[in-house]
Amino acid sequence: MRLESRGAYLFILPAFIFLALFFALPGIIAFILSFTEYNILNPPKFIGIKNYLTVFKDEVFLKALINTSYFSVLYISGKFILSFLIALALTKPQIRFKRFFLTCYYIPVITSVAAASMIWLWLYEPNVGIFNNILSFLHLPTSKWIYSSRAVIPSITFMTIWKDFGYSVILFIAGLSSIPKEIFEAATVDGAKGWILVRKITIPLLKPTILFVLVTSVIGSFQIFTAIYIMTQGGPANASTTVVHQIYLNAFAYLKMGKACAMAFILFIIILFFSLVQFKLVKESEEYY
């Protein structure tokens, strides 16, 4: 016993200095700052829960919350269905060139959001961009895409699904391949086929993976920032501003650090809520089996 602990603290010390300084301490500072008024130039002034009250009366922030939720719903439903269907197709034994397909699907995932945003800015360009040129070539109505307040969120969602779905495909395939083959064989012998097999066997057994994909997607979608910052700057007329975009602007453009920290904590609570829901549901589903 004594031997084993020899030097243990030296092994963990370097990493834990980093964790303490750049994760734990900032977490505490953010919490404290969220109750203050602070613009870097003057020392922070304690103002109680006023930041939280102003944030919930801030129309732009509420708009950002609505935009983010709208994006989140579109993004998750689209990405979930697409990546689940692809994973089902790719795990069929008769499908060949699996690695090739996976490679194609994963290339957008390893691309930075900034680079992807540049490419899609170009695709969406209203005058010389390819989308509108194809549409007008086919005599179909064109769109202003990200420059229209109605189309902006769907356009950003479309691009973000394109960029991210490959990641969920990998997770689903990992989940699907961990289901014992005998279960499928037994069910097939009993006459289960096609969708019934998927609905009655695959989905229930895949529940932990499904929950993991759903919850990490909700969390990820609530953190959308870079695509918005690069492609629309929140426009037109705040039609695409998001929670993190507002946190960024308040902290680093308006220097309202306290208010930004309050917003960040609200985001934290939203994310924490979804993590706890996932945790609880996974536990329940494990008890069920």
Binding site: A89, I107, A114, I119, F212, I219
Partner: protein
């Protein structure tokens, strides 16, 4: 027979989605080889005439792409190196050593994983700004810019991620302890045991940590946006955005720069493909 048709439809669907995944990149390569006149006159053409390879030369002069590229390499390489050095070490101790407070420290790591980076980014900016005795700061952290706009400012807060320590711990837990014990009986020092025996066994985990750290930093946008100020320090992702702001209508050059920003990750992905997929599945299995 109807099963055959379904199979064909499934393959068509997979091919269609594969094309959808790749075609924007193809278009960005095609666009990057067009001249400015050609791009305006023939917006639908897939075969540029003439092929403007010099666009890739132009971006080095019109645009600080060389410097940006090096900055990104330093940021991504630096975080990956520190992550690969320190996170497996901590994960190893948490998995294979018994010491007082081990469980509490592990719970500490888990709870830090829950905090989104938007919460920590504002205080981290302040910690860098008021870092004592660097960047013109006095011992109280006043007077200068601290670690802002430096490589250390970019790298240090991003290098050690709680997730990496967690992944390393889970991996070491799955390894047998017998080899470690044998070496201990032979009288090898604790660090030697770790470095010569445990670490080589954990190569898949260490590789995954290195790849993720590199990928996140190379592709990172918000942290360099906050930390870097001067054009000399900007990373390539920030450079794209600055270029787009300044010359928004030079699409051929912008696409050339975008392709340069994508290329390193693409090469790493093609070389280490298996590790990417394994790493992601590994994360999914420890929810």
């Amino acid at each position: 027979m109807s099963g055959k048709i379904v199979d064909k439809l499934i393959i068509l669907f997979l091919i269609f989605i594969a094309i959808w995944s790749i075609i924007p990149f193809t278009w960005s390569v095609v666009s990057s080889l067009k001249t400015r006149e050609y791009i305006m006159k023939h917006p639908l053409s897939w075969i540029p005439k003439p092929l403007a390879f010099d666009n890739y030369v132009k971006i080095t002069t019109k645009f600080r792409i060389g410097r940006d590229f090096v900055n990104s390499l330093i940021y991504a390489g630096g975080t990956a190196l520190i992550a690969m050095l320190l996170c497996p070490m901590a994960g190893y101790a948490l998995a294979k050593k018994k010491f007082k407070g081990r469980n509490i420290l592990f719970i500490f790591v888990l709870s830090l994983m829950m905090i989104p980076h938007q919460v920590t980014m504002i205080p981290n900016f302040l910690i860098l700004k008021f870092f004592p005795l660097v960047g013109g700061n006095n011992i109280l952290g006043q007077g200068g810019t601290g670690l802002l706009d430096t490589y250390w400012g970019l790298i240090l807060p991003k290098a050690v991620q709680p997730l990496f320590i967690f992944l390393a711990r889970q991996f070491f837990l799955s390894l047998p302890t017998s080899l470690i014990e044998a070496a201990r009986i032979d009288g090898a020092s604790e660090f030697k045991i770790y470095w010569d025996i445990a670490l080589p066994l954990a190569k898949p985990a260490v590789t995954a940590i290195g790849i993720f750290a590199f990928q996140w930093s190379w592709n990172d946008f918000i942290w360099p946006l906050i930390v870097t100020r001067s054009p000399e320090m900007e990373t390539i992702q920030i450079g794209l955005q600055v270029f787009n702001d300044e010359f928004g209508d030079l699409w051929n050059l912008l696409m050339a720069a975008t392709n340069v920003a994508i290329l390193p990750m693409l090469i790493i992905f093609i070389i280490f493909q298996k590790h990417f997929f394994k790493g992601v599945s590994f994360m999914g299995s420890y929810r």
